[in-house]
Structures are given as structure tokens and as C-alpha cells.
């Protein structure tokens, strides 16, 4: 189950042979979820991250990098063990990779307390954004609530009055419903917490039909979301009761699976393939060329995380042991994000714009995500004020 995937960036450095000194590669520990239903999320983060390294020939910001990828199998305990081993045995000072908030909750405190730096490519749980924020902890994606706040804002903009909301019963699920409520101005017609390992939603479909809301908001990451939407369709609810979701619920993998059935679903998101900026125009074709499979927000987050780390390595010349210098360099966020404007707030979580996307028919007849409008500008998170850094 545990796999070790070592990329020797140093080989590339030696091959060029022009450098006067042989720099030992900086080791980056990537603890991520590669197995189980959530496996493709970690895979996309890893491959997005690797894409930046490959484009630089095994380096990030001109510094040779060795990426150690380990699978946490969505088990907080396993993630913790891996992190401890990397910290103690391999003296790794820079970590990234975690997909799920429950794993992050177990791993991140260990990592930052040991004096290492953690840069999150995905999970941004609320408890680590507020009082428990840490100077060694950076989030390059979003605070968990953000993606759902954007969905709430989208539902408000679309004029819906009664929403039925569902999410799995774990930290990120609770954050999602809290986030949606915060920016949705209508009433909540019903609220259901599903199980994190649940794949059959027949009971929930019946509850939704009985409540007959204006709009359904649901948050089910990865395979769970696919099962949910397919069953929504089979229950005859798709097209009858509109759905607004956050970006975690509908990525291009899910879209490819759902086909035309997904047309008309609204999505709140921080990024889309059609964003018109130079970084994004370099990223999207590069991904297609390298991997040839659907590109997801997870790919983008892995890619942006690598860009952020590259900018800090460049600024410090790869001296990861100088944590203070690394922190200062990371906090500047001196890189061109594929999402456009990006900077860190006081709690070292992003301040960025949010958009409403819609699933529409693409030029080739297949459904694609189109950007409709910007709905939140320079949006921060609800917990930043509680963070004393």
C-alpha cells in the first residue's frame, strides 16, 4: 500500500554539468492520498507538482529537488507515521501534499512543531486557519470554507430562496455547510450529514424530493460526488431541482463521467481551464501533453503549490534549513498563479478572487465548465482575524 516514488532531480543537475558546485538536492516530503476512492485527487496533485519539476528539468526555482511521495491511504494515523519518519530519519524540512482535512489535522501540527514548513496544496481546515494558525503553515489552495462560500454566493446571485444542503460528517463536510450558509441569503429547507464511506444515497434522494427545495447544494469529494450525482440523475432530480456545488464536487473527471446529465449545474471555483492569463495558458496545454487525462482543480493546485515553493527556493537559494528565510520568501507569494491574482493573508491563507462556472456544451458537444462571472473579489476567510502571527 505504501509506495515510495523517488525522483532524482540531482541526476538532471549532474547531467547539465555546467555548474561549478554540486548542490545536494532539497528533499520535499509529499504525504498524499493515492489509494482508495480519493486516490485520483492525490494523483493529480502529485502530477501537477511534478509537471513544474519536469518543466525545469528536475529543479524548482533553479534548485535541484528530490520529491519523496508517500501514500497516507486517507488514514490520519498512517499520514502521521510517514511524516514522523520523514522528519526524524530523513530530516525533511519541507512538506506538502495532503488532500483530506482529517489527515491534515493529524499531520500538520507534528510537522510545524518540529520546525519544518508545510505548504498545503488542498486541505485548509478551519481549526488551522484561526487560533491554531502557525508561522510554518501555508495554504496555497484555499481555506476549506472558501470554496463553499463561493457556492453560497453563487446561489444567492442566482436568486434561489430555499436550499437543501448535504455533506459528509467530517471536519471538511461541516466546514462546507457552514461556508455555504455564511454566503447564502435564503432559507435552509433541509440539512443532511452523510457518512464519509457512504456510496449509496437513495435515502437522501428521497428526503430531497420530499423537501422540494429551489436548489440543492452538496459537497462530496472524489468518487463520492460521482456516485451522488449519478444517483441524483437516476432519481429523476437532475434538471428538476437545480444544483449549485463547490469546485470539489464537480471536476473534469466527474464531468466526463456524467456527460450531458451535468449540463446546467453551477459551480463556485477559484480556477478554471479557460482563465485568460499567461501562467494558465502555459499550464493547461503542458498538462494535456504530459498526461493526456482530464485536468482537475487538484492538478492546478499541485502545479501552483510547486510554483510557490519554486519561488521561495529561488529567493533563498535552496537553503531550506533557514526556516525564517524560507517563511519570509513563501509569504511574499512571488509567483504567477494560474488563477490570476494571489497573495497571502495574515494567517498565510490565500486572498483571491472567486468565480461562478456553469456546465455547458463545449465545441465538441461534450460538457465543459465555462466561467460565467466573478462573484467574490479579494476574498479572505472567516478565521483570519483570530490568527495572531
Amino acid at each position: 500500500m505504501r509506495r515510495r516514488d523517488i525522483l532524482l532531480g540531482s541526476a538532471a543537475a549532474l547531467a547539465t554539468g555546467t555548474r561549478a558546485f554540486a548542490q545536494t538536492p532539497v528533499t520535499i516530503g509529499m504525504v498524499t492520498t493515492l489509494s482508495g476512492p480519493g486516490g485520483y485527487l492525490g494523483q493529480d496533485i502529485r502530477d501537477g507538482f511534478k509537471l513544474v519539476m519536469d518543466m525545469e528539468g528536475g529543479k524548482l526555482g533553479g534548485v535541484p529537488v528530490q520529491l519523496v511521495v508517500e501514500d497516507d491511504a486517507l488514514k490520519p494515523g498512517q499520514g502521521k507515521q510517514i511524516a514522523d519518519r520523514l522528519l526524524k530519519n530523513d530530516k525533511v524540512k519541507l512538506f506538502t501534499g495532503i488532500v483530506f482535512s482529517n489527515v491534515a489535522g493529524a499531520v500538520v501540527p507534528d510537522v510545524v512543531d518540529a520546525g519544518a514548513i508545510y505548504v498545503s496544496p488542498n486541505a485548509g481546515p478551519s481549526n488551522l486557519a484561526g487560533k491554531e494558525c502557525h508561522k510554518n503553515y501555508f495554504v496555497a489552495s484555499w481555506q476549506n470554507d472558501n470554496i463553499h462560500e463561493a457556492a453560497g454566493q453563487a446561489a444567492t446571485n442566482l436568486g434561489y430562496k430555499r436550499a437543501f444542503i448535504l455533506a459528509p460528517n467530517y471536519q471538511a463536510g461541516k466546514d462546507s455547510l457552514a461556508g455555504f450558509r455564511r454566503f447564502f441569503k435564503g432559507d435552509i429547507a433541509g440539512e443532511i450529514f452523510t457518512r464519509l464511506d457512504q456510496t449509496d444515497f437513495a435515502a437522501e434522494m428521497a428526503q430531497i424530493r420530499a423537501a422540494n427545495p429551489d436548489v440543492v447544494f452538496q459537497f462530496h469529494p472524489g468518487g463520492l460526488g460521482i456516485a451522488f450525482l449519478r444517483q441524483y440523475q437516476q432519481a429523476g432530480l437532475l434538471g428538476k431541482i437545480p444544483m449549485v456545488v463547490s469546485e470539489a464536487s464537480i471536476d473534469n473527471v466527474i464531468l466526463a463521467a456524467l456527460g450531458d446529465a451535468a449540463l446546467g449545474i453551477y459551480v463556485g471555483s477559484h480556477w478554471n481551464t479557460d482563465f485568460d492569463n499567461a501562467a494558465n495558458k502555459a499550464f493547461v496545454p503542458a498538462w494535456q501533453k504530459a498526461y493526456g487525462r482530464p485536468i482537475t482543480t487538484y492538478s492546478q493546485q499541485g502545479y501552483d503549490t510547486a510554483l510557490l515553493i519554486a519561488s521561495a527556493l529561488k529567493a533563498t537559494g535552496g537553503k531550506v534549513n533557514d526556516t525564517a528565510a524560507m517563511r519570509a520568501a513563501l509569504a511574499k507569494a512571488d509567483f504567477q498563479s494560474t488563477r490570476g491574482a494571489f497573495k497571502f493573508g495574515l494567517n498565510q491563507h490565500p486572498i483571491q478572487d472567486w468565480y461562478m462556472l456553469k456546465v455547458e456544451k463545449g465545441d465538441d458537444g461534450k460538457p465543459v465548465l465555462r466561467t460565467v462571472q466573478k462573484i467574490l473579489t479579494n476574498h479572505t476567510d472567516a478565521y483570519a482575524a483570530q490568527c495572531k502571527l
Partner: protein, 304 residues
Amino acid sequence: MTLVFEQLLNGVQLGVMLFLLAAGLTLVFGIMGVINLAHGSLYMIGAYAGALVAAKTGSFLIAFPTALLAAAAAGMLMETMVIRRLYARDHLDQVLATFALILIFNELITITFGRQPLFVSVPPLLNGSIELVPGFRYPAYRLAIIVVGLLVGVGLYGLIQHTRVGMLVRAGATHRDMVRALGIDVRLLCTLVFGLGALLAGLAGVMAGPILAVQVGMGEQILIMTFVVVVIGGVGSIRGAFLGALIVGIVDTLLRAFMPSLLRQVMVGSEADALGAGLASMGVYLLMAIVLLVRPRGLFIHGQ
């Protein structure tokens, strides 16, 4: 009222899926005394075989028997190569070996088909919903699952209670040494029973395909509930597996559907939802604990 009825049907549907898995598990445990954690992998193999053939041929009618055969073949292969060596060993060795099988099957599937889930579309004939009573529609496909599950239940009952093979199976479950002493080829019987269990798991897998996402690790998600069914119904009893599965399916679904709204009568909305969800997910395990206290051998095992 229709809501309660619909949720009951959902419960029955979950129940028959659990039964298809539990039937194989309970027979294997009852007759051979092997705890087969890799039973969920057979379910996954059925689902993958069905999904792949359906995608290639576009026909559910071809995919269906292929999936059953694939799962049965994988099961019999598993029995002759690995499980057979475990009969004489203690349960810890069995758990270790079959857990290893889970890991091996999951990785094999990952290497061959990748981590991204596969999708099967509902057969066109069963797409849509049927009006059972005026004003109440239920998805045709789920209804078909219930019908198939009940038919399999009846078929298994006939097989076990009224045929010679069934007699051997029953005898094997209760008096294994006696059967062996009477000169029955117990090895062959074991392989056949294991194959039958695998076939049923494959059936559950291929039927689950169009509803759930076909993905690595899908077997483990349902396996835990299946063990609950086996414990509640009693080890080795098909009747116990059937009734136990229906009880677990219905209890789980009804708790999930109605616990939060019941709690909302006495407490604040969001707290009620959170507590209700918590209680609902504990529900079947609580039930299992109670059954273990009251009737440690299972609800539907008599005597001894």
C-alpha cells in the same frame, strides 16, 4: 407516507445487496471456518469485469454473465491457490493472508485500470422510474435489484434445502468431520461453495456498477456492513444472512432518513442533524452489539 414507503424500499434494496455478499461470506465461514476478508475484492472484480465489458460491447446483457463468470473464476482460483492452505490454520493467519489478498487485488486493479473510477450506464430498458402507486415513482433499476436479490434468495433456499449439494453444504456447516468421514470430497465441495459465494459477490458488484462508482477499494466499504450482517444473522446460515441483511439494510436506511428529523423535535436543527447522523452511522453496529449480548450465535441460529 410515500416517503416512509420509499425509504423502506431503499432499505430492502440495500439489504438484498448485502445479502448477496453475506451469503458467500457466511457459507465460507460456516463450512470452511475461514474468515475471508478478500470477499469484497470479488465484489470489486465483478464490478470491474461488468464495467469493462459493458464499455466495450455496450451491452449489459453480455456484461452481466461475464462479470459473474469472472468473479466465480477469480474466487475458485483464490480458493485453490491460497484459501485451501488456510483451513487448518488459526484465524489470525487467515486474516493476515486474506488481508494481503485485498492489498494485492487493489494494487493489481490500480496498475491495470488506474485510480480514476469507471462508470457504467444503466441499461436502457431499466432507465427511468416506474409508478408503483399513483403519485409514487421508484427508479426501475433499483426495483430490478430488489427483484434479482429476492429471486437469488429463493433460489439459494431451494438449492440448500432441497438438493443433494445443498444437503452436503448444510451438513458441512454443522458436522464437517462427519461429512468427510462419509467419503465426500470435501475439497471439491469447498471449491464449489467458494465459487458460488464469489459468483454472488460478483453479482452484487455488477449490479452496483450503474449506481455507485466502480473504483479501487469499493469492496472494503461494503464488507464491514456485510460482516455485521453475518454476525447478526448467525454464521453459516443462509436464512440468517437473508433476514440479517434485510434488517441491517432497513435499519440503516431508516435511521439515516428519519433520525435527524426525529431529534429535531427535541433539539436545535444543526445539532440534531449532526447527532442524528452520528447515531445513524452507529446504528447497525449498536444493533450488532446488542445481538452479540443477547444471542451470541446470531438471531437465526437455533439449538446447540
